[in-house]
């Protein structure tokens, strides 16, 4: 049999860790990314990464971390892989430390840990206010080391278009668009891993980066891969509304005494303090986001008629603020041009993270043999709601599982990708090329970017914080209408070189497909669980919905089925943050 060939798509934390593991196993990797991998979205993560080392003598352990994660996720995650992830946490932090991530230190020169939401323990390792950036760089360096040895080839201005699937339903490679030459190329691989990150851009503006369109996940969903728990979308309560992006303002601001308010009848109304006297401004993310939505959309009390409320720290000592929150306040200063020590910050909830993603088994393989998914693009580790600082951990852990499994899978193949008939490969390449030929010929009156903004507004208003079945139906209809109008797009740019408009049209179509998965999944789930909240069905309904949603593509829209969740290790119990968490 020919030498193994492995293709990894995406060079964020998950893709890079997968790549390192494959190279360490002695095989070569072709690594694809829309942006140079060092510029991947993972750089945005500020807060840190969780691992229960118990270095502060608080009785923490991977078992407690496991319980916090399952509880925080409202029992929707399959438990065995989550347990493995929490167990692996400390070793992962130590590895990053050995790779040179400049984590903050204690006076003794040891790693320092901070507290995050959803736990009572100091469990989060951090590197200043840019933990994700520092971690990504450390992995990027290790991959560059393999690249210098000839084990990694990078294709860094290449967009994944679809998997190559043979007659037997097995994934045998991929097609990609060279974003400069605009040519479609086929690549054979015994395995393909998608590590393409989350779908924030489906919501127009979010805390996510520009390339987080979810286009790759949507493409393979349309080829038959299942999409799991799409309706679970985390909304962060405090982001800075911007014309281009909703920039995150960390929870730690409220932790240090920040208060949220808006004007009512000419007076400052501290609505969280009034609605939730016990916890005040420190209610959990989902509750705070819901309150802001109520104040702005239901009561029409947004600041200056905008979708915004105030997050205020002006009553605090400016020097203390700089000492404790310098990095965070800097972002506000830099992007709003105003000093939060002097004027209250204008914030609004923002789509932040997708718990849902491609359905995978416990070794990160999708239902298409040979096609793997890892990182934010998989659905595996966070159930109905993700705890802060657990995502970076799941990206790395997923990569450590995925890489070795890809090697093992390829070894077990009786027929290598290289032996697959040219017909299959060429047919798929042609199919993709035809899509672009058609896009280049579009001369209607619609503008692709305008359609995308419309999608974003609908998704943000109806499919984030509060979900009503009536509105979800209207949104699904709207998406169908937008798909229809997509057919009447006019292309302004006919150039055959780095044509960003043409590649965007394709991404837009894929976003619309994914938007339906999210919306229809939410519509069907008549309960409230984790980040999914329906006022009409305010309670969790384990009898009907302690189940993973699996969406399968059909030409009439997503077909949903439900799969039992493995709750064999921790018995489900009600989730309340107004009282202390009872032991599991």
């Amino acid at each position: 049999m020919a030498e193994q060939r492995h293709l990894v798509v995406g060079g964020g934390l998950a893709g890079l860790m997968t790549t390192i593991k494959i190279c360490e196993g002695g095989a070569a990797v072709d690594l694809f990314s829309v942006v140079p991998v060092k510029r991947s979205h993972s750089v945005c993560a500020q807060g840190g990464i969780n691992a229960a080392v118990n270095w502060k003598g608080e009785g923490d352990s991977p078992a407690v971390h496991f319980d916090d994660t399952i509880y925080g996720g409202d029992f929707l995650a399959n438990q065995p892989p989550v347990k493995s992830m929490c167990d692996a946490g400390p070793a992962i932090i130590f590895l990053l430390d050995r790779m040179g991530v400049p984590f903050n230190r204690t006076p003794e020169g040891l790693l320092d840990f901070r507290r995050f939401g959803g736990t009572k323990h100091h469990r989060t390792a951090f590197a200043g206010a840019t933990t994700g950036q520092q971690m990504l760089y450390a992995l990027d360096e290790q991959v560059r080391r393999y690249e210098a040895q000839g084990l990694v080839r990078k294709f860094e201005t290449c967009e994944f278009l679809g998997a190559i699937i043979d007659e037997g339903g097995v994934c045998r490679g991929l097609t990609a668009l060279d974003l400069r030459s605009m040519k479609v190329e086929a690549f054979l691989g015994d395995t393909v891993a998608l590590a393409t990150g989350g779908p924030g851009i489906v919501f127009g503006r979010s805390t996510n980066s520009v390339v987080n369109t979810g286009t790759a996940a949507s493409a393979v969903y349309q080829q038959g891969a299942y999409y799991g728990n799409g309706e679970f979308i985390q909304v962060h309560p405090t982001a800075i509304p911007g014309e281009d992006k909703l920039r995150l303002i960390s929870e730690s601001v409220r932790g240090e005494g920040g208060r949220m308010w808006t004007w009512r009848n000419g007076e400052k109304w501290y609505f969280l303090e009034e609605m939730y006297p016990a916890y005040g401004n420190l209610v959990p993310r989902d509750i705070a986001s819901r309150a802001v939505f109520k104040v702005v959309f239901e009561m029409g009390l947004g600041v200056d008629g905008e979708n915004a409320v105030y997050l205020d720290v002006t009553h605090k000592d400016p020097e203390e603020l700089t000492r404790k929150l310098g990095g965070v306040l800097e972002i506000y200063e830099k992007f709003k041009g105003a000093d939060p020590r002097v004027v209250p910050m204008k914030v609004f909830p923002a789509m932040h993270y997708s718990m849902g993603g491609l359905w995978v088994d416990y070794v990160q393989m999708t239902n298409v043999p040979g096609l793997f998914a890892v990182g934010e693009v998989d659905y595996q580790y966070h159930g109905a709601n993700r705890l802060g600082a657990n995502s970076l951990l799941s990206c790395l852990f997923g990569g450590m599982v995925c890489g070795p499994k890809m090697l093992a899978y390829a070894k077990g193949l009786t027929r290598a990708a290289a032996d697959v008939g040219n017909g299959v490969v060429e047919r798929e390449r042609r199919r993709q090329e035809d899509v672009y030929d058609r896009i280049y010929r579009m001369d209607g009156a619609e503008n692709a970017y305008a359609l995308w903004r419309e999608l974003g507004e609908w998704m943000t208003q109806h499919v984030t914080v509060e979900r009503h079945n009536k509105n979800l139906k209207l949104t699904d209809d709207k998406i169908v209408e937008l798909k229809d109008r997509c057919g009447r797009i006019g292309i302004n740019d006919l150039g055959r070189w780095l044509n960003q408009e043409v590649s965007f049209v394709r991404q837009l179509w894929n976003m619309l497909e994914l938007a339906r998965v999210i919306t229809r999944g939410a519509l069907a789930r008549d309960e409230s669980r984790g980040a999914h909240y329906k006022p009409e069905f305010p309670e969790r309904d384990d009898a009907r919905f302690l189940k993973t949603t699996k969406a399968r593509w059909t030409s009439d829209g997503p077909s949903l089925s439900y799969e039992d969740v493995d709750v064999s290790m921790i018995k489900p119990r009600p989730r309340h943050y107004d009282v202390e968490k009872r032991a599991g």
Binding site: K38, G100, T106, L111, E156, L498
Partner: protein, 247 residues
Amino acid sequence: MDPIRLRVKRQARPDAEPYWEEFKIPYRAGHNVHSLLMEVQLRPLRADGTRTSPVAWDANCLEEVCGSCTMFVNGQIRQACSALVDTLARPIVLEPMKKFPVVRDLAVDRSRMFESLKRVRAWVPIDGTYDLGPGPRMTEEVQQYAYALSRCMTCGCCLEACPQYNDHSAFIGPAAVGQAILKNLHPTGPLTKEERTAELMGIGGIVDCGNAQNCVVVCPKEVPLTRAIGDAGRETTKKFFRDIFRR
């Protein structure tokens, strides 16, 4: 408020002639250069109302942390995402970086920067990703210097400003010097320092630096380049003498 006038230096392909186009964008508070370019995508019309193609540019994080969107804004090298329109003189003039090949319009090819990181072996040569226990201890002081260097987002501003960095010089530039020093700082650094220092000493290494310190002034992440260049200078001198006496 008057519409915002935006002048963009465009170029269809790497080998094509550059040309200028002007756009008029309705004023709204809170724009940055990135969101202005998004408005052009929405209405790709020149100021005179004729149709054109949207402008091509690089962007990802929109928080000044990925380094993608470096360009000249009103003659200053900086990131488009953190260039707030309300603080800029008008018309706003955008040009691509000059020390890197233009791909199209404002998008450039900075792969040379990543190649430089290979040359200075900017990585820790770990034994493997297995569970080998905690890493070496590090003082807070060293961690803070390391953290400051590690914030370099390969944006290229410093190279654009450096008089010694260009097509016909082999100087790797201040950003890569910073990363070499960063790796030397790691507790395993002494084991691999020799190789890195050799690269800094070789053609195009630290000796080419005219010490104008333009680099530090334009670095958006306040990477301590002067200190790193100083450290690199000392390392190369030490190695120079070591090599002489070894002969």
